[in-house]
Amino acid sequence: GSTDSGSSGDGKKEYTVGVSNLGLSFPFPAAIGKGIKEEAAKLGVRIVELDAQGKADKQSNDVQDLIAQQPDGVLILPVDSGVAQGLADRLKASNVPTVAVASQVGDPKKRQLKDVYPGLVALVTQDEYAAGGKAGEIAAGVVPDGGKLAIVEGAAGFAEVVNRFQEFPKSAAAKGATYEVVARQPGDWVQDKAQSACQNMLSSNPGTQLFYAQSDDMAVGCAKAVSAAGSKAKIVGIGGSKLGIDAVKSGAISGTVCYKPEDLGKLALDTLYRHLTGEKKQDAAFVTYDTPAITKDNLADCTPQW
Amino acid sequence: MHTAMVGPPLLALEGLGKSFPNGTVALREARLTVHPGSVHGLVGANGAGKSTMIKVIAGAHPPTSGVMRWKGEEVVWRTPGAARKAGVATIMQHVPLAPTLSVLENVFLGAPGPWRLPRARRTEFARLLDRVGYAIDPDAEVAGLAIGERQMVAILQALATGAELVVMDEPTASLAGSERQVVFDVVRRLSAQGTAFLYVSHFLDEVLSLTDRITVLRDGTVVEEGETAGYDEDRLVQAIVGRDLLAAERRGPAAVAPDAPVLLSVRGLSSAAGVRDVSFEARAGEVIGFAGLLGSGRSELLHAVYGADSRARGEVLVDGRRVGRTPRAAVAAGMALVPEDRGAQGLVGTFPIWQNISLPHLPALSSGRALPREAAETERAERAIADLGIVCPGPGALPGELSGGNAQKVVFGKWLYGGARVFMLDEPTAGVDVGAKADILGLVRAFAAGGGAVLMVSSEFEEILAVATRVLVVREGRIVAERAAHETSEEELLMLANGFGEGGARDAA
């Protein structure tokens, strides 16, 4: 880290923290960025926030530009776990303390979520696997006898597509509901495509009882298709976005899992800040927060943050 | 130089047939024999099949039947490259050049070898220009050249390959006097050195003075073949079109009544393109010829008058009313422009003939000026086809399916029936056969006689003198002289156009 960033009046050092955000035009990371900035204002930390626009190669360039600016620490929201590994190495080589936010660094196939990539101060994230499990629990609650399940996946190629599904059937089964997956089709994370996909899956599998959409946006789109087709199928989403919570409230979808990106951002910056000030030095720590399952019954537990 | 050659022919075509996939039979049982070192003329009306025959020779079209012998051996050229390699260089009628490359690059487009060698090519180019007696900037981009200059570049390209047979399809159609002379000199000089030429032209005087033998095509078949010495212009015309025309073409222009109303007046017209302070008037019934050299600005002048050059300043009045500075206003005021480059400026390549012809006056052929009546359009096209003798499969043909001269007639046909009164014709007879040329000149006279005014640019001063009542000489964007047609001569116009005043002194421009 550098020491050339000025000191404020009371002698406290003013830290400069670089944030390499995976994409500020995507609501979830944008909300994390918002949380970071709010916390930074409170802590008196200067933020340099770069937008990778969802491109791994741009993130690599951004990190290079950040290193050139010699910040005291970096928060990185990886576009891609594999690529982020190289970036973390580079940051480490430049002696910049780094906290990974929202997704894992290092190949998820090889590395457990909680086995944080060495060299990072910490990984601060929600547990995608656990969230998938929570969704499974909701499902078991609304379609307890099991039955035909259709999955609306995110865009092919995203790690979440796998992660958010992995625990779903297990935790549903643990509650006594076993599902037969009749269809898995991509909704590309967007409402519109998910609506079409659900429409089409319904017309080919009219008996579908449950849709698991891997994001709230897609769940909402799916709900429209379901109601338009006059089907009785239930829908479970994941994410806890405003759209999703509203849909739970209105009964369009049965439940969702509450992610809190702003809190996540705050938590991430705090973690880094305390490491920098020496208040709590950490090494490869796994920091997470609770993502509760939300249904009509406990709506109050989730204030949507994105 | 009119010595007939003996020995085996350089190129011989026998029983040549070519039909296009749309059913048009362009050539049937055609034959041709070109001897080494001779200049062979190929003539025929528009659509007779001359260009088709040339494309077959050049390897650009496969023939449907017949044999081709090159130096006595039967050959089949599947690509233009094969013909080039064998020693045949062809100048196509439609001057295909690469517009984004320089003149130099175009001239040596097909040159072999691994390097561009700009320096060596430059000296070679200079030598070529020297040999030919023409000057052009080797670095000029071809897209910026006037059509005549492009024609010269194509000629240079063909000559640069050092071919044994040079095939020229209407090389002089868009050239003015001096360039035309350059072409003649080249043909004469090179044929004296042993290069053979196959020469296609609608200028029969050229054909008669340049060639040793002549082949006449009509409707895709050879109707006559013989020594040039055995022909005179009348006989040749007879052979080509089967009727006598010369009398009509040579007829002098009718005089204009002095009290005829002024139809068009142009005052102080200047443009960024180089037109400088041009003023003139045209009365009803007048045909004004614009004489000048290639690049003197005649086209720019017409464009400025027509409002096609938006940066032109000055006044244009039709019937005493000011005309707005757009082609749209000009068309509305009764002006018509037949531009010089029919492919780029005259015709919409994706439209059939009938849609091209109706384009300028479409509202008039439409119900409520909004819904085109296709029957009326087709009818108009059929009328144009009949009036102008356009050789084509029907009004549904695309411009690309027409021979060069017939395409030109379609451009002309666009303006015939729309009630235009001021006709501006930029090289209207370029590439048009003798018969049709007479028809077009007749039309020009008819326009005038019907109370219209005609401004006609032509590089053929003879043609100007044949129809114009008055001649304006253009040089460097100005009008430098005015003559009554019956008081001047081709020689005088040439002098004036070259910047020599009456006394032979150079005008101070």
Partner: protein, 414 residues
């Protein structure tokens, strides 16, 4: 001569040739294959009314964009900014609908689209910059505006009343009862008009009489068959927009001139056509159309996020070009572009119905697109060689290597 230009019969025959209607055949082929596969695999019938209604509904918005993009392509330009503009107007309408009410919000959103189109058109036409780079720039810039407007968040229409008004715009189905009856009546009227017109221009009123007779037959059949047409609202919008645009392009002076402007702007200009007006007009129309589609998207989703619709511009262009529209202007048909869009959505729908793995969809879509284009390029060649063009020495080659229809002298190449 083999070509008959203006009789109705030969024109219908011409329209049905593979070279002309290739994209339709490609669609039919795809549908046939999917129907077969879904039967084979024991899935529910592919050609069920519900599924057809779904496909039409799903493709309608993109197809509307494709219609307007086709107009721009015909005019000889290019527009990459449609998706950004649609997202922008969606964001606009969603932010304004609660305070201002739908009509005003919608007017502003449409206005925003129109302004974007006008900016494109003015820069392209008056400054003379290549449309590709201009619209790439405005695509980025307008997307930036969306980001500013949304501040990185999803915008939703929260007010229930506003939501209801938006939903009314888009959701639900209209049923046209007794379609056959209506069609029959329309045919009778059209036939009568044709007979009248033919009389006036002195032609034979055969075609009109036939049309009217067919109308009577259909009308009589209606009570027997009683076929009702139930389609989603966006499908009706699409049908209306496509039909009107098609008719304008096909039957009016404006349409003819648009084609002329796109095929050879200089020749059009010298024929007295105001080229700038048509070229800019096409952009403005496209902007307006994108704005409308944006509003429909907003109404459909009731939410838009800053990346909404990103990448759609390529889908739209693909639809238009699959439909045979030339990238070099002067050639194209809006109806075929609609069919192009249908092909793309039929594939997506087919994957969903057959439950094909996501990983394999890309390869199949790509291959089908190329093969579909190949089929009718090759089928069309047989006819195109009849329309061989003489190589033209134009300073600005207008059709340097345009798609299927501008094949120059291919015959002699092979």
């Amino acid at each position: 001569m083999p070509r008959e230009t203006s009789t109705g019969r030969s024109r219908i025959a011409a329209a049905l040739r593979p070279g002309n209607a290739g994209v339709v055949y490609a669609l039919l082929l795809i549908v046939a294959i999917l129907t077969l596969l879904s039967t084979q695999l024991g899935r529910p019938p592919y050609l069920s009314p519900t599924n057809i209604i779904n496909i039409l509904d799903q493709s309608s918005l993109i197809a509307i964009l494709a219609v307007f993009t086709t107009v721009v392509l015909i005019s000889g330009n290019f527009d990459l900014s449609v998706a950004s503009v649609a997202a922008f107007s969606a964001a606009t309408v969603l932010s304004l609908v609660a305070p201002l009410g739908l009509p005003v919000a919608m007017a502003i959103a449409l206005g925003a689209g129109l302004v974007c189109g006008a900016v494109n058109g003015l820069i392209v036409q008056l400054v003379g910059i290549n449309a590709f780079i201009v619209t790439l720039g405005t695509m980025t810039a307008v997307r930036g505006l969306v980001l500013i407007l949304t501040d990185g968040r999803t915008i939703t229409a929260e007010d229930p009343e506003a939501q209801q008004s938006l939903i009314a715009l888009q959701a639900g189905y209209w049923t046209v009862p007794h379609v056959l009856g209506l069609l029959g009546a329309a045919a009778i009227v059209a036939g009568a008009v044709m007979v009248l017109l033919a009389r006036r221009s002195g032609g034979r009123p055969v075609a009109g009489a036939v049309t009217a007779a067919a109308g009577v037959v259909v009308l009589v059949l209606d009570p027997v068959l009683g076929f009702d047409l139930r389609l989603s609202k966006p499908t009706y919008y699409l049908i209306m927009i496509a039909a009107i645009t098609w008719a304008v392009l096909r039957y009016t002076v404006i349409g003819r001139r648009l084609y002329a402007v796109g095929a050879n702007a200089e020749a059009a200009r010298l024929s007295g056509i105001n080229v700038s007006r048509y070229k800019i007009g096409a952009f403005v129309l496209n902007g307006l159309g994108s704005g409308f589609v944006g509003v429909l998207f907003a109404a459909k989703l009731l939410a838009i996020n800053p990346t909404g619709l990103q990448g759609t511009e390529l889908t739209v262009l693909a639809a238009a070009i699959l439909g045979g529209t030339s990238l070099f202007g002067g050639l194209g048909s809006v109806l075929k572009s609609v069919v192009g869009a249908l092909i793309l959505f039929t594939l997506d729908n087919g994957f969903n119905v057959l439950n094909l793995g996501a990983n394999y969809q890309g390869v199949i879509v790509g291959t089908v697109v190329v093969v579909a284009a190949a089929i009718y390029t090759v089928a069309g060649r047989a006819r195109q060689v009849r329309r061989i063009r003489e190589p033209q020495s134009q300073p600005q080659p207008q059709h340097p290597q345009a798609g299927p229809p501008a094949e120059i002298e291919q015959e002699s190449l092979r």
